[in-house]
Structure formats: C-alpha cells, structure tokens
C-alpha cells in the first residue's frame, strides 16, 4: 500500500526550494530565486506555503538598510522531505 506523496512537496518550485535548503544551513531569498530561476512573486507565494506547513523558517531583517529574507529548513521539513523521498522511491521501484 502506497502513501500519497505530500501535496505540499509534490510541486516543482516548492520541491526545488526544499531540495536546495536540505543541503544548506540557511539561504537568502535572492540566492534561492537565482538557483531556482523563479520569479520573486511566485517564489514568495511558495515560500509562504512552506512556512505555513511548518517546513521552513523565514527570518526577515534589515542589513545595511536593505530588507533581507533568509530561509531555513525546520526539523519537520527535514522529516517531510525524507518521507517524500522514501515514498517516491517506492513508487518508482514498482513502476520499473
């Protein structure tokens, strides 16, 4: 019996953000935007969804008079990502 893939993660941009953050301690919004080739508006919306799910922490602060948004994966996010990968692997192994 398969578990459904987490709908929060099973979307292109949100999964890209999570996959990027899983290997980093934290990353700035501009960095994530550059690496995912997303538009600022779309990325903001998806980051908000991940934040609401408790998968990432979003820190907003001012550095040298400029606003700076930093994202960091939470332990709940790590668990969700690991479960997602596990479920993905079982889907793919059956499809082979």
């Amino acid at each position: 019996m398969f578990k459904d893939l987490d709908p929060i993660l099973h979307s292109q941009l949100r999964l890209a953000v999570m996959s990027l953050l899983i290997g980093l301690k934290e990353a700035e919004f501009t960095y994530i935007k550059e690496k995912t080739n997303a538009t600022a508006g779309n990325l903001s919306v998806q980051i908000q969804k991940l934040k609401e799910a408790g998968y990432i922490d979003v820190m907003k602060q001012f550095k040298d008079n400029y606003p700076q948004t930093t994202c960091k994966i939470t332990s709940l996010g790590v668990k969700a990502f690991e479960d997602y990968v596990k479920n993905l692997q079982s889907y793919l192994s059956v499809k082979k």
Binding site: H10, Q12, L15, L20
Partner: protein, 199 residues
Amino acid sequence: MEEKNISEQESLLLIQQMINTAKHEQKDDGKGWILWGWLLFLVSLLTYINLYTRWFSTYYFWSYFGILSLLLLLYSVVKYYFFKRKERAKTYTGELFQKLNVGFFITIMFIIFSMNIGLEPMKGFPLLIGLYGFWILIYGTALDFKPSIIAAYITWALGFAAFFVNSFATTMIFHGLAALVGYIIPGHIANVEFKKLNR
C-alpha cells in the same frame, strides 16, 4: 521555474539537481591551503639553508613567519567583521571550518608557547605536523576530498618519523615535506577541480 505538479521521475531529477547546486557551495578553491602550505614550505627551506650558511640566528625566519601569521590573522579578522562579502547561503561545513580554524590556531599558539618555555623544537615541530594532519583530515572528510584524506595520513607519518631525527635540519626537511604533501599538493588539486567546476 513555475508552480506546477510534476511526475515522480521529474521530482527525483529535480531533487538531484538542487542537491548538487547546494553541494557546489561546499567546494573549496584551495587558495588558503596553497598560501599557508607555501609559507610553511619556504620558511622550512630557508631555515634549513640558514642552518648551514649561518647567515642569521636559527629561528630568524620562524620569528618573521610568526609576525606574518599574526598579521594575516589580524587581516582575516578585520576583513571578516568589517568588509565581509555577504554569503547568501550558509553551509554546515562552512560553520564547522570557522570553528576548526579557531581551534587550529589556538592549538598552534599553545605549541609555539611551549617551545618558548622549554619544549625542544625538535619535538615541538613534529607536534605541529601532527596538528596539520588533524586539520587536513577534518577538512578533507567534511569536503569529501580524497587527496586531503590521504595527505592527512602521510602528514601524520612524517610527523611521527620527525620525532626520531637527530638534527634540527632534518626536522625542517620533514616539516617542509609535510607542508608540501599536506597543503600544497591537495591545495593545487582542489584549485584545479574548483576551476573546472566554475567554468
């Protein structure tokens, strides 16, 4: 990239791509190892030559190296706190290296201090070589960089052998070799790999 649902295969591919992107942040250009390695190597070599020519006192070059190291340390601290280029992504390895470097320099100072209050330099330098090996092993392991991991064990072997030499000139040869094997060679390999990756 847009907000859209994707197939399982696409998901897996995307995860791999993004993890590789994050991995890229953890590569070291090796320039620090090269600079530190060449400095150690040159001072060892100059001290070795000086032991035969007797142009200057025995530790003349090491004294200047100490001053230069302190100036470099001061420069790094000032650069870090006042002119730091903001890193847009922080890695766990980056944080580990910062702490490792602090521990490394403090321990070096302990050994140098002990040599100044009575520890024989022919025993102090092998301890320094042992410390280099420790630093190199942690760096190599954290970066998953095999040349450094291998170099760490060779450095330790050189350090251990250096305990048994019977002249300070030979100690300097072992110290220079340790710098070559431990820092210079892996540093240049890391630099070549880094350049390839950033082409």
